[in-house]
């Protein structure tokens, strides 16, 4: 069973992530201690909330160094979910301009309200168009719906890092991947059958 470290850096629905990992056959270890970072085969960075606030906590506790070390030196696969995906970026603008983890080049900006009837935050089920092949998509048909709830999006610098896109107003990157670092703007743990399939793939791929 794959040991999965679920990073606890504050307040978000961590229970759901752990439950979903279990449901997918993984062994979740929820911890707020970066000292534990070396003890798992995979890591998940969940998150809801505010980019700048989240990075403050992550830096204060030393998670930024621990995550970068495990990913870049030890090749540990990392999945960022929702805000956790956005934190992979170089920079974010929510709550003031701040530095991210710098694992996937790009920056995080607010979803543009390009039409008066476009509702922001983007809340609900929306399709993910798979733009590149990835082991994450094993058993997940193209253009399935996943559950989103966010007001900011990841503007990815290198098109090759985008694995899936979703449309809400303009298209935005809803799945990013760079080596063993992946991120989903949606919540796989809350996206029923295909969300769990994707999570299961993360636990077995790479």
């Amino acid at each position: 069973m794959s040991r999965v470290l679920v990073i606890d850096y504050g307040f978000c629905n961590l229970d759901s992530v752990c439950r979903a990992v279990q449901e997918c056959g993984g062994d979740p270890l929820l911890t707020d201690d970066p000292g534990q970072a070396g003890s798992a085969e995979r890591m998940i960075l969940p998150g809801v909330g505010n980019f700048a606030e989240a990075m403050k906590v992550i830096r204060r506790r030393g998670w930024d160094r621990a995550i970068r070390r495990e990913v870049l030196e030890n090749g540990i696969p990392l999945l960022g979910i929702c805000l956790g995906m956005q934190l992979l970026a170089d920079r974010g603008t929510e709550g003031g301009d701040s530095e991210g983890l710098g694992l996937v080049p790009g920056r995080v900006i607010r979803l543009p309200k390009v039409r008066p009837d476009l509702r922001i935050p983007h809340v609900g089920w929306n399709e993910v168009a798979q733009t590149r092949s990835s082991p994450l998509f094993e058993g997940v048909p193209d253009r399935k719906d996943f559950y989103f709830v966010h007001a900011y999006h990841f503007e990815v610098a290198e098109p090759s890092d985008v694995l899936g896109v979703t449309t809400h107003g303009p298209d935005f990157a809803s799945i990013v991947g760079r080596g063993r670092v992946v991120g989903t703007q949606f919540h796989p743990e809350k996206s029923l059958r295909y969300g769990l399939a994707l999570l299961r793939n993360f636990l077995s791929a790479f």
């Binding site: 629905n13 439950r19 309200k113 935050p121 089920w125 929306n126 719906d145 809400h168 809350k190 029923l192």
Partner: protein, 252 residues
Amino acid sequence: MLKVRIIPTLLYKDHGLVKGIGFDSWRRVGTALPAIKVYAARQVDELIFVDIAATRENRAVDFEEIDQLADECFMPLTVGGGVRAVEDVRRLLRAGADKIAINTAAVENPELIRGAAALAGSQCVVVSIDVKRHPDGRGEVWTHAGSRPAGREAVAWAREVEARGAGEILLTSIDRDGSMGGYDLDLIRDVAGAVSIPVIASGGAGNYEHMRAAVQEGGASAVAAASIFHFTQQTPLEAKAYLRQQGIPVRL
């Protein structure tokens, strides 16, 4: 394309699920865990769970109960009832809720909306607005599970909660609740037209056509319903098939 959500509402009181008419005449309709398991098996879009007695009994939601229920939810779960402080929001998120619905406490202490949004992000904060119409048609906000007038007009309050950081509005017509006679379309249209955040229509669904109207005529982003799923043979899945026929994007 973003889908229109169909959201079963589960109301909790005295350790069981209930459904009333006009926020009164509560009937027991079962227990929470089996209901949630059934909805999970049917892959519903989302669930709303509200402890309707919590505020009146001046207590918090039963966090352990939520923890158990959330373990069965691989879909989004909004929890409301008795949320008074940012600490309640934190505990509910910890217990497995994805979004928190705030009603009475938001009216009594509007700063709570901003506090909750600062803690967890706007997307987690659903402000629940219960509305009763005066004979002249004015929609007034009511609190304490529909038992006290708040002296606030519905549309103005909706604008204010958006400005204070709410991520979604759960808009319930007390007059239509449990009537199965259709949503208050004017109310939905007025509120959805006044804000940019998603509005969930609630109160009055009796058939799939009512849901279509709430979306196409009212501008709702989602429709919540309880009686129709408790007391009739109609199901969320059939509702979606109907809405799709009518040209509304749904997740099937």
